[in-house]
């Protein structure tokens, strides 16, 4: 089996919407060349509809495919709907990504959100909750979340080793059947600590 799915290879080989928008309404950048992936997204918004998205990406096959997919998914959506696209959705649309590519290459939705936030900020809109999916807090607010290993989707329950000590039987049971809905159908989770902003 090839390393990447056919769909990933298609978006990598023929990326859609590569480029930049000179008079963009919003620009967002994520990643770091040191990590090997970096994305800049440009958005054009008219009447609350994302009319155009362009991107430039430095990164691996997955990073380029993800950028291309996000640009297609976001175009034509309302700003609010485009903000709802998650990194996990993107991976799903691409037919899955190799597990080790989930965290660092799968930043497309984050980059798009940043561009839209830039647009909203310029418009004077106060952003209440600018958390991206990967930064979701657990429901007790301790800041520790579990993330589905293959797809990176947070499962918003407290981790076993959650420092706040909220380990109710109920949440444990939920956890044992929790599935993030990724194409792997996995229930495998890893705990991940994110510093609270």
């Amino acid at each position: 089996m090839p390393f990447y799915s056919e769909k990933v290879m298609d978006h990598f080989s023929n990326p859609r919407n590569v480029g930049e928008i000179k008079d963009a309404d919003g620009v967002g950048e994520v990643g770091n060349p040191v990590c090997g992936d970096m994305m800049t997204f440009y958005v054009k918004v008219k009447d609350d509809i994302v009319t155009d998205i362009k991107f430039k990406t430095f990164g691996c096959g997955a990073a380029i495919a993800v950028s291309s997919m996000v640009s297609e998914m976001g175009k034509g959506k309302s700003v609010a709907d485009a903000m709802k696209i998650t990194n996990a959705n993107v991976a799903l649309e691409l037919g899955g990504l190799p597990p080790n590519k989930m965290h660092c290459s799968n930043l497309g939705a984050d980059a798009l959100h940043k561009a839209l936030e830039d647009y909203l900020t310029k418009k004077g809109v106060k952003i209440k909750n600018n958390k991206t999916e990967n930064q979701a807090d657990c429901n007790c607010g301790c800041g520790e979340v579990e993330i589905c290993k293959p797809c990176g989707t947070p499962i918003t329950e407290c981790a076993d080793d959650c420092s706040c000590g909220c380990k109710s039987e109920e949440s444990k049971q939920q956890k044992s059947v929790s599935s993030c809905g990724c194409s792997y159908g996995c229930t495998e989770v890893e705990s991940k600590t994110k510093a609270k902003k």
Binding site: V18, G28, V30, V34, M38, F58, G59, G61, C104
Partner: protein, 413 residues
Amino acid sequence: MQITYFDNNSATQLDPRVLEAMVPFLKENYGNPQNMHSVGAVAKDALDIARKSVADFIGAKVGEIYFVSCGSEANNFAIKGVADANAHKGKHIIVSAIEHFSVLYAARRLEKIGFEVTILPVNQLGEVNSNDLKVALRKDTILVSIQTANTEIGTIQNIKELVLLTKANGSLFHTDAVCVAGLIPIDVNDLGVDLLSFSASQFHGPKGAAALYVKKGTRVTPQIDGGVQEEGRRAGLENIPSIVGFGVACELAKNEMIKNSASIKELRDKLIEELPKKVEYVYLNGHTSNRMPNNVNFSIEFIEGEAMMLLLDSKGFMVSSGSACASKALKMSHVLTAIGADPAVGQGSLLIALSKYNTMADVDRFLLEFPAIVKRLREMSPLYDHFIKTGERQVAGPGTDYGHEHDHNHNEE
């Protein structure tokens, strides 16, 4: 599509003559060399002949060759075997920062059980400084392990000088010659090493056979117990077909290596000379002259190695890269890190490892196709965009919320 295999440090194409010699041992000659009956005797004879060829190839005696399964096992055997057998003399080991992981992680494992490990740095060209070794050597240093040449950047070490220093200190010297065997003649007596690893699969032999040379009188504790094979030093039924292939690969290399390496070197030199003329902002990694005849390693700035590798693959070129994304561990190669490569630039590393099966036509075709691939990736690179617009390099861009501390779930093993 024509496949051009430029990844000969990962694996090499089996020489048809090697295959031919192996086939009978996969078919009718299936015996176990430890058996006294005549089917076993055929295997035993084949094992002896192969051992002689392998020993001759590096100027060793037959009793000094121990067959193992792969280069990593040979390195593990050397490091752990010497450590086990010599722990009473001392618990200090010296390795270089650019060793293969099978050396570095074997040393790390020893650290966990009470050994001390000094990791020698290398300079920008990948050379170990003999003064650094001099300073690092201690009374309780039992082993120094420094590779003959580096797989990734091709830099050849001055092993003889390092050996002299080590021997003067009364310590043992192991060298990992896996990427050297079959390209540069190896003579263990000339080098003066106590232990040397090399593997069949690196020079058109089969996978599954490698050897550790252990100089007569050197104490090494077995790492696989439970059998009389390999003089009791490495239990397990011998992989006869692969060992037979290993022997033949050694014979062929012994006779043909000088000629082959000369033509491989021509290909290398053409690539090293021409590539920078065709593509701007590329930097050669490794030594210019003390370099493996088959090694080309460039950092291609503003683009990432895995993407480059995939696009080259789509054109039929099999290469490798030391970029973070191209590694399963998602870290830039430890070799590029050790030579001080800029992490942003090193992400675009391109490794071409040539073999006797590559031709000048392959090289010309590569030089023709490669610039367009770089251009394509640079056109979509925000780093290149920034550089073109401002004339400045964006080392770690603004808004980089994924810093170094970002957990990549690193797992190098």
